[in-house]
Each structure stands twice: as C-alpha cells, then as structure tokens.
Amino acid sequence: MSKYYLGVDLGSTTSKAVIINEQDEIIGRGITNTRANYSVAADIARDEATYNARFSILKKNLEKEIISKPEYKKYISDLESVFQYEQFKIKLDKLGDELVKTCNNFFKNDEQKNEILGHLRNIRKAFKPKIKHDYLYNNLGEKNQFFRDIVSEKYNEEVNKLEMALFEPLMTVWDKSISPAENERIKFDFKELVHKAMVELKEKYKNLPDTVAENESINFDAEMNLLKGNFDQVSETLRSHIDDIADLEFHIENMTGTGYGRALLPFPQECIRSEILCHAFGAHAVFPDTRTVLDIGGQDTKAIQVDKYGLVTSFQMNDRCAAGCGRYLGYIADEMSISLNELGPMAMEAQKEVNICSTCTVFAGAELRELTNLGEKREDILGGLHKAIIMRAMSLIARSGGVFNEFTFTGGVARNPAVIKYLTQLVRDNYGNDITINIHTDSIFMGALGGAMFARRNISADLPSNKKTQEAIQ
C-alpha cells in the first residue's frame, strides 16, 4: 500500500493542507479560510486535500491512457469541479437551514419573519443556478473559491437588488448564520458525491451546444470538443477507475501541523512544528539551491536564511505590527471596494508609484482616501502601496542577513503579480541582477508542503504511534 504524508498549515487567514507521496510529490492540496473554529478549518483543508489526492491518483493511474486520450484528462478535471459543486450544494443547504433557524429565532413578528423567509428563498433561487454555472464551466477562475466568499458575494448582489429597508434585517440574519454554518464540519461521502457529479456531468455534456461558439460563456476547448458525442463512452470506461479511487483506503502515515494556530491543532505534540522551519524546508525542497526565503503571510512577514540542508540558520519576523502583510492588502481592498484578487492586477497598471507610508494599516487607509481626493489615480496609489509592502519586507530581509542566491518567495501574497514585480525590482536593485528569484505556483502551500516533508522524514525518529494520532487522521 502506498504511504502518504500530510502537512497542515493553519495560518491566520487561510488554512492549507498538502499530501505528498513517498517521492515527495504533491498529490493533494486543500485550502480554506481560517475561521473561529481552527480545528474545523484544519479538517476542511485536510478533507479537501484528500479529495484532491484521489483525483490526482486517478490521473496518475491513467497516466498512459491519458496520453492517447486527452478527453480523459478533461473529463477528470471537469468531474473534480462538479464534485466540488456537489460539496458546495450540501454546504449551501446547511447554510439555508441556519438562515431559517436564525430567522425563526430573531424575528418575533410573524409577518416580518415570513417576509424575510420569502426573500431568503428568492435569493437562494436566484443565485444557486449562477453558482452552479460557475462551477460547471470553471468560471470561478481567479476569484477566491472559499465557500464563504462565493456565497457572500452572491448574497450581497441579491440583497442590493432589493429595497433599502430590507438590507439591515437580511444582513443581520446573514451575519448571525454564516459563522455557525462554516464552523461546523460536514462529513462528505466521496463515493456518493462523485457518482452524483458524474450524473451532473452527463447533463452538462448532453446539453453542450452543437457549435461551441453559440454560447460565449463556454470557453472554446479542444478537449471538450473531443468529449462531445463521446462522453457516454468516456464516462463508462472511467467508471471502474473512479470507483477504485473512491474505495481506495487512504492511509496517512505521518503528519505535521504548522502555522500560527498550530498549538490548537488536534495533533500530538511531536507532530507540531514551527512554520518558519516548514516554509524554509518546503521552499528548499522545491528549489534546492535556495538560501534566502521570504514568506509574506496574513499577519507575518518572515525573512529566513537556510543552509544547504534546508535548515534555518536565522530568521527575522515583523514584531508588534502586521502592517505590510497579507491582511494589510485585504484591508486596502476593502477600503477600495474591490476584491483582494483584483488588487495586484490593478497595481500592475500603475504609471508611477505614489509614496505611501506602510507603518500602519489603518493610517494607510486614511492616506489612500486623502490621495484619491487629491486626484491621484487608484492604479498609482496601489502601485505605491505594493511597493511600500516590499520596502518593509526588504528591511526585514536586510535584518536577517540579506539575500543570497537563490531567493524563494512563498506565502499567500506571492500570488499577487504587483508584489512580485516590486520584489523582483527591489531585490535586483539591492542585491544584484545575478540573484535567481523563485516563485512557485504552489507558493501558498509551501508551509504545508514543508510540514508534510518533515512528516515523511521524521518517520523513524519520532513516529507518533499513540491512538490519538490515528483518531486525528480519521
């Protein structure tokens, strides 16, 4: 039986899980927003990584066939999206129950209660097909894909269409329901959901327009075209393989918990490790010549120096203040009423960088409003903000000893193109053009990856053999 290793990184903003095999290859990734109940966040990230791992194993099992039949690959990734939608539906039902419960408890007046309940039903009816469409046709794209974000966005959209007087009661009901709903862990039956997803997928392919161009919301896709008229056969051929991975006993041999909330993870003490070590280890494993690691997370910026073994030799972290970290960007995005994911691309449009102070998040918000009033362009302000964050990180890097070749950037903020732009620019300005700068697509998972790799390596040193571990894996 294959052995798998799990790393869970419970960050201040997002919780990540990575599953690796014995060759250190990532076979499962899971990510969710961190919430009041840390343990649920960790469980959800881990569950997601496990589902993702099953799909990866499926692809791996069919590696050879996929080369000659690209439609298999397309089918499997479509299936995974629809599978996620099936999970989403169940979560949405739970949220629905919660909304009704809140409504019943909150409104004493029956008339008002029924009115709000009616609106809730309509809202749900309105946004459900939209979300389904997004999942089925991969339209979620670059947006945040966490349940909370998706439903909040749609709910807000619908509420805004209604009259003003309804805004407050509907938002109150929402605020009181979303947290309990997302703090409860739902156990999904993988096999049941994957079968449902197959049925759903059949519908999708059946309803595909004859010519792709007829429906512009569906991206033209050669692989999808291969599936047209062929899907029944593909789906039947793959069914047994899908059942195999659904029935696969997934054995996690060892695990490591890391991140800000690591002490609260339901892991045995010996399985908990500092995120500084994990980020460094992960970054070093992916880019073995890494000597300096910069990690910008939700509330921490860490500049880490590692040796040839991937071991940390020194590190510096922001102390007392988290301005310039991921949450800073989140706050700025809120101030500008745009999504976090739009921030970077907008900053890339900057013609110049407006000077902005990065010492305090709240003051930066005030400065931003002032600069807007003075007529500065949003793009240029954002350019300045992004540069300010990197300037702050550069000072931390200097304190940790500087940049040595190679330099690897990790953490959630590494997905932001403007951050990458200014970081590259400033690292080159300060430490020369010969520095290799590595940014991996899995940057945000680097801590969890390092954790999983520690779990794999320490297996003989301190295998947690107590029962608690086994329970935690279940």
């Binding site: 500092s274 073994y309 940390v312 020194s314 590190f315 102390d319 007392r320 040193a461």
Partner: protein, 433 residues
Amino acid sequence: MANPKDAVKEKSMIIQKEMLAKQFNDLSKAKETGKKVCYTFVPGNLIELILSFDMLPVYPEINALQSGMRKKSGGYIKDAEKMGHSEDVCTYVKCDIGMMLNGNIGPTGEKLPEPDLLLLSYTGCFTFLKWFENLNRLYPNAEIAMLHTPYQEDGKITKEQIDYMVKQLKEEVLPKFEKVSGKKFDSARLSKLLSNSVQSEDYWVKVLQLAKIKPSPIDAYFAGVYYMGPINTAFRGSDECLEYYKELYHEIKDRAEKKLLPVTPEGEMQKERFRLVVEGPPNWTNFREFWKIFYDMGAVIVASTYTKVGGVYDLGYRQNPEEPLESLATYCMGCYTNLNLPQRVDLIEKYVKEYQADGFLINSIKSCNSFSAGQLMIMREIEQRTGVPVGFIESDLVDPRYFSYANIKNRLESYFQMLEQRKIILSQESVTV
C-alpha cells in the same frame, strides 16, 4: 534582588535575602540614624567609595526592575507618561519616576529615603544623564556629582583616560562626598574594601565558569541575575558580599559534582537540551513566564552579557587596592556597555566557544539603546564566526505593554526547533559522511 518564590532555598539565598532586608531596613531608618543616601546606577558604580564614606546606596534601575517583577511598573509608567514623558523614553526611567511620584515605596514596602547625593558615575548611557536631570528636579536639595566615563572607542583603556577620570574623582567627586557625608576621604579604608572586592570577584568568576561544565549546574542568565545582585549593587567590598560568593561557589560546585542541573521556580531541570549564550537584559514584567519558555524546552543559558553590566571580571579585570582611584576609574570604563562593539563581539564569541553553546540569542530591549545599538551586527558576526544558529526576540525591561507572550513564544519555539532540527540532521549527516 528578590529570590524566586517557591524555589528551593539554598544557604546562599538566605544570606542574600538577609543582606537585602538589612539594606532596605537601613535605608528606611536613614533619617533617624543620620546616614547619608547616595542614588547611583549599576554600570560603573563606585560602591566601595560610597561604603567608605558610610553612605547608603539606592539604585533606581534596580528599584524599577523590582517594580516590574512586582507588577507595579505598568501603573508607574502610566503616571510618568501623564507627567509628559514620551512613550519612547526608557521605561526604567519612567518606572522610577512613577515610583517616586507614588511615595517612593521600595521593594520591601518601606519608604525609600530621599537622596543626599546624586552620583552619576557612568555616562556611557545618555539616558542616565537625563534621568539624573529629572531626579535633580524632583530632589532639588540633593548634591550632584558627575563623573564623565570615556567610551572604549579604540577597544582599550589608555593612561590618559585613567588620568582624566582620576582628576575628576579628586576634583569633583571626592569633595562632594566629603561635603555630603561630613567625613574626610579615607584612602586606606577604600583600599581595604577594594581588596575584599577582589576576593568576591574571584569567587564570582569561578561561579560563572562552572557553567562550562556539561550539563551546566546553573542558568547564567535567569538565575544569574539573582547571583549577580550583591556584587553589582550595594555590597561589593563588604564582608557579607565575600561570604555570599564563597557560599554560592561551594553550593554550585557541589551541585556540579553531583551532576545536578539548574534550579528553576518549578524545581530542578531534568535535561539540558540546548546551551545558549544570551545578549541583552531580560524582561522583568513577565520574568517567570519568559524563563519558563526556556526551561520547558530544556534550554540553559550558559553565559550572558547582561550579568556583566557591573563589570566584566571574567576577562581578568580586578580592583586594585594599591591604586584605589585608578582602580575605580578603570572599573567604570570596563563595564560591558562601555566596551566597543568589536570587543563585545569578541567576548560573545569567546563565550560561545568556551561554554560550548549550541546557539546565540538576543533579547533586544525596546527601551535600552546601550544594549540594542549594534545588536544586529553582533548577531551576524557571531553567526559567521561560530556557525551556531542565532535568534532574535524583542521585548522591554519593565513596560508590560511591550511583552507579547504569544509572539515571543512563537519565535522561541521556532528557534528551539531550529536548533533541534539542526542537531538531528547534522548528526545524520556525520553518520552518512
């Protein structure tokens, strides 16, 4: 200094406790007995001179750290800030000023007497000057004596510097002492006290060097701050002080022979996992919690620079009874914070090597420029010269607002794991190679 509560009481601890009780009792009765009181600071203190004039010393920064440990500093600091002292002012100063504003009640609950003499014998810390200016405003009747201590810019003490200080002692300091105490300067008495100091210093160095043993019988930082009390403050030169260090040395030597590990507030440590050298003062407001993070992880501090603020005796300096004033001058210029940065790096490097440390850690104090300036450079140099992992944490002396337990614990945990990982992987490496 206070003894840790609930800890096993060794004989030396009892001696120290009695010394302190007597000291504060004498202070509280100073008015009745007519003894004159001299306020001064620990670095470069001229305690033998003070004692030779039969005067009683008060150390404001010791009172401040005591207030920190007794959880009173937060309120005192707030009161000083109300008076107009900025958030950035050294918290020892604000805590001390706050304590005076609140009736100048000392650590034993007895009121401290007002100063007759304000003796500033170490000017390496600029804040000390300002602190005394403030004390002067609070106590306008006190005499002031200031001794300018040249910094060891070139890493050595020259004859000219000694002459310069002796001249100040003769022309400025001694006349003030004579005026306040009403006594003539007694050179023979000073020499006698200094020769006692030499013996205490010998024992103190021997105590510190017992930490070279593996496992170390003492924690040279968290317990070190208690051990350093008598010699760094009111007692150096006295018979009790010598008795204390003699006793302490024998106790610890005995512990070492029995292979016992350091005593903590929760009893004896069972395993020494990491040996560290620490730079910078400790945090006082959360001293116990701070210490606990270390001993819970099996980390022992085998050498620290902070315990050398009153004199770096392990480099060989001893008081010289033959030339008492020259000796005092050299002493003032030789305290740790008066060393230039290359000297400090050399000293720490020596500690890391001689005490076989696994790591070097800096506790950087927001309030203290004397210590904090140059610490990043020190860290980098030590890392390069010794190859041990270095760590950096930040807190404050006595402002409870600047001690973030979660942050410090997070960093220390990472640091200890870093040391551990290193041990494991390097040992595997040496096996495979």
